[in-house]
């Protein structure tokens, strides 16, 4: 059982940072909406506020790590140009997808959308975290602000979902692989 370095980074980017972010989104939206239902004297309101701040901070870190590793780590491997005369395109995912009409759409729609829409995620969630850090429990007094923040988080969820879906499908049709191989375990051959 082995994996290439590029494959490992792709997995960390998608199944690590991206998938964890997606999992965290619903919790963030629920907690943000709960600010509107809290009373000033509610027992544990401050503890919950601290929890939400930490939760959103982790989401901010995940979002930035996902887009930065994607844009500056994996995307260059994806769009690498093969030297003239190259026959096998396995190490050049973008060119491999574009080489067939049946797979070209995964690049022209999937990657073209994913590479841009994903950047809405860190902007939106950083704003949401900034607002929660600034206002905390005082958000219960500002319904329009609270609702708008929930909308931004919902859009970030959608954008992360688009990026995640197309990331998975792109990697299924033209995997990003190459570089040194890491041996994870030795299996028994039959």
């Amino acid at each position: 059982m082995e994996i290439t370095v590029r494959g490992l980074w792709t997995m960390i980017h998608g199944m690590g940072f991206g998938a964890l972010y997606l999992l965290a989104c619903s919790g963030a939206m629920v907690e943000l909406r709960r600010y509107g239902r809290r009373g000033a004297e509610e027992v544990g309101a401050n503890d919950r506020d601290s929890f939400v701040r930490a939760y959103l901070l982790i989401m901010v870190v995940l979002a930035w790590l996902a887009v930065l590793t994607g844009t500056y780590g994996i995307y260059p491997w994806y769009r690498a140009v093969p030297p003239a005369g190259t026959v096998g395109l396995a190490g050049f995912p973008q060119r491999l997808l574009l080489s067939s009409p049946s797979t070209a759409g995964w690049h022209s729609l999937g990657m073209e959308w994913k590479e841009h829409v994903a950047w809405l995620v860190p902007i939106s969630i950083t704003m949401a975290a900034g607002v929660v850090f600034r206002y905390g429990n005082d958000l219960r007094n500002h319904a329009p602000l609270r609702h708008a923040v929930v909308c931004f988080v919902a859009v970030s969820f959608f954008a992360a979902g688009v990026a995640g879906f197309f990331g998975a499908m792109l990697n299924k049709n033209a995997p990003v692989s190459g570089g040194p191989t890491i041996h994870l375990a030795r299996g028994e051959s039959r």
Partner: protein, 112 residues
């Protein structure tokens, strides 16, 4: 709003929240506009290559993030200590976010 707590008094001014929200909307819209412009203007495409292995995407995203942060700093400076009307600003921020989202969608960006 039905969720408001009657009698609760706002302790913090609304300006910083409005600034954060509107700046995020502007940043998201800037991302969409820059993505479309870079796709359609060859001269700009060349200028947006900040990091060659990533290509124009590096410039588009860096510029959008810079726009977002600069607008946030500017609005925080202007509104940081005062109240502003949240509802129209929230609406504008969400419209800008929606425009940004639409412009990143290739079938829409190809219309220009």
């Amino acid at each position: 709003m039905s969720e408001e707590n009657p009698g609760a008094k706002a302790a913090l001014p609304l300006g910083p929240g409005a600034a954060a929200m509107l700046a995020a909307g502007v940043g998201c819209c800037a991302l969409g506009v820059l993505a479309v412009a870079t796709d359609h203007v060859p001269w700009l495409r060349g200028k947006m290559i900040f990091y060659r292995p990533t290509g124009p995407l590096s410039g588009v995203t860096t510029c959008a993030v810079l726009v977002w942060l600069l607008v946030w700093i500017f609005l925080e400076w202007r509104w940081g200590r005062r109240d502003v009307g949240l509802r129209p600003i929230a609406t504008l921020a969400l419209v800008l976010l929606g425009i940004g989202l639409l412009l990143t969608f290739p079938p829409v960006s190809d219309l220009f």
